[in-house]
Every structure is written in C-alpha cells, then in structure tokens.
C-alpha cells in the first residue's frame, strides 16, 4: 500500500467531527492551548511594524521558488553535492522510505533518533523502519508523547496538543517513568531529558526533516526549541534528511524573511530557542555522512493546479490551526490526516487525492481567519472553494450516481432560480407555500428525502412571511 497524507481508517470529516465534538476533555485541552498561543502570537506580531511587508515578501519568495522549482532543485542538488552530501530523489513515500531504510541498514543500526518532521509522518517512515527491524525514536517532546501513548498527531507544531499535563504524566508514568512523576511541566521535560540523553549519545544515525533548504548554499535549516534537533543533526555519524521539494528557498538572503515569519507565527516567540543550519557533511563538525532525500509524494500534483499551487508555500507554522473555529472544536484527529486544520483541509486532498480526502475542503466555515494570520498569505478560503468545486466535479465525473447527486441537482436548480429577479421572486412565493410542513420554531432542521444531507450539519432559515424585497416595494409605494 502506498503511504499518503490521509489516514484510511478515519471516516470522512463530518462523521469524524461528530464523535470528536463529544470528547469534552479534548475540546477543553485544545481550547486552552489555542487561546494561550493566539494571545501570544498577537503580541509578537503587533510589535513588528513591518509584519505585512514581511508576509508579502514571504509570499513572493515562495512564488519565485515554486514557479521555477526545477531550476532551484537542480541548484540545491549541486550545492549539497559540492558540500559533501548525497542527494536522493523519491517520487513517493514508499521510495523515500526504501532509501532511508537502505541507508540505515547499511550502517547496521537497530535504532535511529528522529527530529520531529511532518514529511516523515506523512510517508509513515517510522512504520517502514519498524518493518525492517529498526526502531525510530521520536525525540521532540510532543512527538515522544504521541509515540509513547501509541497515539496520532493532532497538530502540526505540537502533535500532542490534545493531551493536558495530567494525561502526559500518566503516559510517562506508564512508559519511561518514574512512577513518582508529577504533572509539573518542568518535571515532565526533565523526564524526557533523562530518557533521551543516553540515546542521543549512542545514536549512530539521525533522521530529520527540513524547515528550509537554501538552493544557493545547500544549507538545510531545522528550527526547534528543545535541543533535540541539534542532538539529532549534530551527534550521529550519519544524518538523513527527508525534505519535501517545496521546502526550498532560492538564496541565503531569503532566510532573513522566513526566520522572522516562522517563529512568531508558530510558537509565538521572537525566535525559537535553537536553529541549526548545515551544508553537506564535514570531518570536523557534525555527521561525516549526509543524505538528503527530496520528496515529491503528490507535491507536483498540487503544483500543476495554478490556483491551488500556493498551498505549497506553507511553512508549517500552524497559526491557521490555532485561529480556526472548526479546528478548535473538533481537534486534529477528525481531519484524518497528518495535516489537520485549515492548511490540512487544502493540502491533504491535493497530496492524497480527492478520493481519499474529498470531504476536507468542506470542513470549514470560510470565515477567513486562517488567511489573515498566514505568514505567507496563502488564500486558504479561495483554495477551499476551488477544491470544493474540484471535489464535486471529480465525484460527478466518476459515476452516474455522482452526476445525479441530489445536492448537486438541487444547487443547479437554485442557480437557475437565482439567475433573474423574476424567477427569484416567483420561487420565494412558491417556497413560502411549500415550506409549511418543514418549518418548526422559525427554522428548518431537516429537509426531506435526498436533500436531508444539506441539513445534517446546518439549520435552514424558512422564507419569512414578508421578504425584504416585498417590504422594500411596499415602503417605496407608500412614500
């Protein structure tokens, strides 16, 4: 089976959201965490008088990258090779997993240490390594909590955001100890430090993702907080980095924009505690062997869609998750994807295909909060609408049933009705006559038969006894 950004065992979003909404503890945890971070982010963004200029530069730089991606990829390959690294190319997750597994096996190791990386979760690298008898140890605190709790990530930046400190204490007590552990965050961090220290020191192979890859110099950037990223990219003899092909930036200077945008948008700090940058491999500092795996896995499909292409500008800050009213209530798991929230709703269907994740573009109220905070100005609402259309068209094209889908037919009829003033007003009159058996207490909660799908997740307002248009005509007449 080919790996993808979408989890096949999670039902479509509307169904998954229903059960997620019933989990009051999870909702409380996510509500607390996201309100904390929203407030902090506002503070560090407001102190920047040139924030809007930086956002626009970030957007433009990513456009420059994506519109000439082939050229930048070749430049990066050349730079990394010149600096003593080895560049690999992987069309999909399976190919990338095979490359990483082969390198790790050639070093004869049974364990690799990992820095948190969305790309490797997307391709299910840990599972592939496990199948080859190699344990991939997650070293980011939140990722470790997910791994030890045999859980799934629910947030791009803090995968264990659905867990509060008491739940984390319980997971640690069960797994890495000690049993006397309290839920004091400093003590929980200390437990992780003790557990991982020895493993960092003896690790011979490290695996990382990349926040940025600078084509001009071959530098890979990993931004992190705890120092686990430094450990994994510095101490092992061999380092393997899995990097989505969209992570490139053309020039060294471009970091001056992204190193300002990312930390303030993600952890809401002026800068994250540690940023590591390295090019290739050397004998006197860090790993002696460096492998860069450039991953496609659906990214070129997104690139081919002119309007949706901007999705690939994402720098994985997670600001859009933290402001999203839908995400705040359903949490990340309901999206059935390693990429949840607004960005996940547009990225996942493009990477995994509409068939696997076609319900996600509908998992939004289109309020636009995500667009406002996006540090690279991805117009998520517009892409959502565009992908809804694509999803509908692909469903219609796929089968006769799709073509005869009642919602689609109904919307077609509505479009006709809205086309001229005369038709619209006649329809309102007809509707008022027809709706009386459905309206209860001023709203329609259930449409009959095949149209019931529309009201499953929303109430409909009945047509009032006097419409605004009728009132207006009356008013004009009486003046």
């Amino acid at each position: 089976m080919t790996t993808s950004a979408s989890w096949p065992d999670v039902p479509a979003f509307p169904l998954a959201a229903k059960s997620a909404l019933a989990d009051a503890q999870m909702r409380r945890n996510i509500g607390m965490a996201t309100s904390t971070i929203r407030e902090k982010r506002t503070g560090v963004v407001e102190e920047m008088p040139d924030w809007e200029q930086l956002r626009e530069a970030g957007r433009a730089l990513k456009e420059r990258t994506l519109r000439h991606l082939d050229e930048h990829l070749l430049t990066l390959e050349e730079s990394v090779t010149r600096a003593g690294g080895v560049v690999h190319w992987a069309r999909d997750g399976d190919e990338a997993n095979a490359i990483v597994t082969r390198i790790a096996k050639s070093k004869g190791v049974s364990e690799v240490v990992k820095v948190k990386s969305m790309a490797t979760v997307e391709i299910e690298l840990n599972e592939a390594l496990e199948a080859a008898g190699i344990t991939a140890l997650e070293t980011d605190l939140a990722e470790l909590i997910v791994q030890l709790g045999r859980d799934r990530p629910s947030h791009i930046l803090v995968p264990a955001i659905h867990r509060n400190r008491a739940e984390i204490r319980d997971i640690f007590r069960r797994t890495i100890g000690p049993e006397t552990l309290t839920d004091e965050p400093a003590e929980l961090a200390e437990a992780a430090r003790r557990f991982l220290r020895e493993r960092f020191l003896r690790a011979r192979v490290g695996v990382s993702g990349a926040n940025f890859a600078v084509a001009e110099t071959g530098a890979i950037a990993v931004l992190e907080s705890e120092g686990n990223g430094r450990m994994c990219t510095t101490l092992p003899e061999t380092l393997i980095t899995v990097c989505g092909i969209e992570k490139l930036v053309p020039a060294w200077q471009d970091l001056e924009v992204f190193l300002q945008l990312l930390p303030r948008s993600s952890t809401a700090e002026r800068m994250n505690p540690y940023t590591t940058l390295w090019s290739g491999a050397r004998d006197d500092d860090g790993p002696r062997e460096f492998h860069l795996v450039l991953l496609d896995n659906g990214r070129t499909d997104s690139l081919a869609d002119e309007l949706a292409r901007q999705t690939l500008a994402c720098i994985r800050c997670s600001a859009c998750l933290n402001v999203c009213p839908v995400y705040e209530r359903t949490g990340g798991h309901a999206y059935g994807s390693v990429y949840p929230g607004p960005i996940g709703a547009i990225l996942t269907p493009q990477l995994a295909g509409m068939r696997a994740a076609g319900s996600l573009p509908f998992a939004s109220s289109l309020c636009g909060a995500c667009y406002e905070v996006c540090p690279v100005k991805i117009d998520i609402p517009t892409v959502l609408v565009h992908l809804r259309d694509r999803s509908n068209k692909e469903r219609a094209a796929a089968s006769l049933k799709g073509r005869l889908d009642p919602e689609r037919l109904a919307l077609k009829a509505v479009a006709k009705g809205f086309a001229t003033r005369g038709r619209y007003e006649r329809l309102q009159k007809l509707g008022r006559l027809g709706q009386w058996p459905l309206a209860r207490k001023g709203k329609i909660e259930r449409l009959p038969g095949e149209l019931g799908g529309w009201t499953k997740a929303r109430d409909l307002m009945p047509i009032p006894d006097q419409t605004f248009r009728e009132w207006w005509v009356e008013r004009e007449a009486s003046r």
Binding site: D50, A60, D70, E226
Partner: protein, 216 residues
C-alpha cells in the same frame, strides 16, 4: 535513482506549463520593503539585545573590556563550574578564574563533552530585535557539539558584533554560509512549548545560558 530524479523534474516542468518560457526566477518580483537597516544608535541596539536576550531567561550582563576576565571568573564561580570545555582558539585572557580547569576541544568525545561543567565561547553575530546569538564555527566558537552537550554555556558577545535587525545578522553570516560552515542560532537556554503551549526552560540543550556583553 536517476529514474526518480528525471521523473520528478519532468513532473515539475509539466506542472509549470503556465509559466512563460522566457521568465527567469528573478523576474518574479520580491519587494524587500521590510526593515533591512537598523535606525537605533548603537548603544540602544546593544541595550535592546540585552533586554530581548534576557527575555528568554538567559542571564545577560554588560561589562567593559577590562572587566571581562573578572566577570567570567565571577560567572563561573556563581555557577560552581570548575571544568570548562573551550574551543582551542579561545583568547587567553578569557580563561579566567581560580582553580578552573580549561579543557581545550581537540576532538573531545561526546561523553567527555557531557561530563564537563560547562563551555565558554564567543559568537559570530548577535541580533537585537529578537535577542539571538549566532555561532558559525569561526574564532572562539568551536564546533556545534561543544555548545550543545555541556549543561551550561557562557557566551561572550562583543558590542560590535550586535546588529539591530535580522536581515543585518543574516548578511553578516553570509560569508560563512557560502563557505559551508555549519551554524547554530541560539535564543536563550533550551526550552519547550509542548505542554499546553506554555514555555518551560531546560530540556536537551544547555539549561543555563550566561551572556556577557562587552562594551567599550
């Protein structure tokens, strides 16, 4: 493997059919109209750095050049640090303090680095706006593992190394970047925000960061 490379490049080119043949990457306009040059007087830049760096719970102290050795000795004594790892090119006058053992790094093992009480280094550049310190492996900085494994890091920052803005810092690092030097940018001691999005200091990297800013 080359098949994958060719396939991906072909997919990219097919996906970008809408981009005019004659367009070059630099034709895609990028307005760099954000702040690129600082405007504060240098003394204020240094003060802002000290303030923002301390905001990460680093301990920042300003000293004059003559007072530096004494300040180093004091800081080490206050931390109870007696065995200090140092880059081999650390200036002799920084090796101050009674009874302190200086362990020069000529390829110390990871275990040996883990066992010292701390490390003393200089830096390449510091940025006031976000309170960061960058190390690029240049003079008095050593390799990356040196400032990673010891639990305590004392970093000496010269006032002339402090710039106001991030673009100024990135520009100063450019030469080292082109030379392929690995770098670390540090904002305070190690920390995590992974528990309920609250920052907690002290995870895998140095849990204590002392910064001495040398002015005058």
């Amino acid at each position: 493997m080359n098949a994958a490379r060719d396939a991906i490049l072909a997919r990219v080119r097919a996906a970008l059919r809408d981009v005019p043949e004659a367009e070059r990457a630099d034709d895609v306009a990028v307005a760099r109209d954000y702040r690129t040059e600082g405007t504060l007087p240098h003394a204020e830049v240094v003060a802002l750095f000290a303030e923002n760096c301390a905001d990460y719970r680093a301990n920042v102290r300003e000293v004059d050049a003559a007072g530096l050795p004494g300040a180093i000795a004091e800081a080490l004594a206050a931390r109870g640090a007696r065995r200090l790892a140092i880059p081999a090119d650390l200036p002799a006058q920084w090796r101050a303090g009674d009874g302190v053992e200086w362990v020069e790094d000529h390829g110390l093992s990871h275990d040996a680095l883990s066992a010292v009480d701390g490390v003393v280094t200089g830096c390449a550049v510091a940025v006031a706006l976000n309170g960061t310190i960058a190390l690029d492996g240049g003079v008095a900085q050593g390799r990356r593992a040196l400032t990673l494994l010891p639990d305590y890091h004392l970093c000496v920052v010269h006032a002339e190394q402090v710039v106001e803005l991030v673009p100024e810092g990135i520009a100063r690092l450019r030469e080292a970047a082109l030379a392929g030097q690995p770098m670390t940018i540090v904002a305070g001691p190690s920390a995590t925000s992974d528990i309920e999005f609250n920052r907690v200091e002290g995870v895998h990297g140095p849990r204590t960061l002392d910064v001495l800013v040398v002015t005058g």
